[in-house]
Amino acid sequence: MNSPLVVSTQPVDLSRRSTLTDYSDLATATGLRKITSTAEEVPHPQLGTITRATATAVIANPWLGTNTEHDLSERTEAIAPLLAKLLSDRLLYSLGGAEQIQAFGKAAIVGTAGELEHAGALIHTPFFGNLLREALQGTSIICFVDGRGIPGETLRVPMWHKTAAATRTHYQTIEISLPDAPHAAEIAVVAAASGGPRPHARIGDRSTDRPITSAILKGIKL
């Protein structure tokens, strides 16, 4: 079940598309403090190894001190595509290329001096989502978590299948911790990807479910 958001079927290297290639230029353009990448490899008896990865950028909140009327589009268009590039580069490296990626997800946590909408601006628009989808060769809408938080939070970032979001085997989350981030005036932006399904997925799928309604409650015996 492909979503209508088909953007590409060919591999795209966002690094090669970007005119900003020097890391310090990218850091300056995004107000970047740090990027943390994680990769988790779990041996599996049938699937070999399932690798799952995350990449988190911690940047200065570009809208600090603005009010709720402030137009967020200008900074979103300047910053979100660069974040998508920085984070997808690291996911592709950790997982060994887009063809190794089966599921994806994203997250943004804004520090306590910022507005929830600031987190949303950096991940909920095409300036981030379309580029991440393009780089990871997906077509699905990207599932997410967002919120406001303090440094040291632990997040569970949801992921689902990159071309068939309703594929039940691929519903999963990956846990990350954010040591020392986000500070009050920062935003942490996360991209996540998985090289496989849940380790022992065996709870059927929409295609195998029989019709279920609340009438089933009448049939359950103690």
Partner: protein, 183 residues
């Protein structure tokens, strides 16, 4: 070397104290989650057979992965052993405080000093800090640093989490006088 999972973490720090960090400070950690070799055996007096069967292959597994994840020459390093709640801290120490383990990292990094370490016992997801020191002279003050780590869902009560960490440079904005200036 059997493990339940292997986790690689890379941190790239480009700003600290509001100033650019140039070159970017990279820190890499690789952690393996393994069965505690002494789980379920009660108090084991002689740990040597367990050490002999595990420590060297653990070092051989982790050391090259840290070097690869770091992606630039290593200048500081450290190690960690986090024991699940049913084990002894001594079990973690046994696996990392032996040359059989550490020499893999020293050789891969062309290092000469002893590795600073954290050893503790805790539940799955426990947070710990790995200390790092300069790889050829542990008195070099600019390279004293630590990195915070938390591995989700590990170690279970019968497991041990073993990690190695490396850094490409000293602290991002290091500017303390050398130890020799106070002697």
């Amino acid at each position: 070397m059997n493990y339940r999972k292997l986790v690689t973490i890379v941190e790239e720090i480009s700003t600290e104290g509001g100033q650019a960090v140039d070159p970017v400070a990279r820190v890499a950690i690789v952690a393996a989650v393994i069965d505690n070799p002494w789980a379920g055996q009660g108090f084991v007096k002689d740990l040597n057979p367990g050490i002999d069967s595990v420590a060297s292959s653990l070092g051989a597994l982790l050391a090259p992965r840290v070097i690869e994840a770091l992606g630039a020459p290593l200048e500081a390093y450290g190690k960690a052993a986090i024991v699940g709640l049913d084990g002894e801290i001594e079990h973690g120490s046994a696996l990392i405080h032996t040359l059989k383990f550490g020499n893999h990292f020293r050789d891969a990094a062309k290092a000469t000093t002893l590795l600073p370490a954290v050893e503790k016992r805790g539940p799955a997801g426990v947070q710990f800090d790995i200390p790092l020191k300069h790889f050829t002279d542990a008195t070099i003050r600019s390279h004293h640093q630590s990195i915070e780590v938390k591995i989700s869902d590990a170690p279970h009560s019968g497991e041990i989490l073993i990690a190695l960490a490396g850094a490409t440079r000293g602290r991002p904005q290091e500017r303390l006088a050398a130890l020799s200036t106070e002697q």
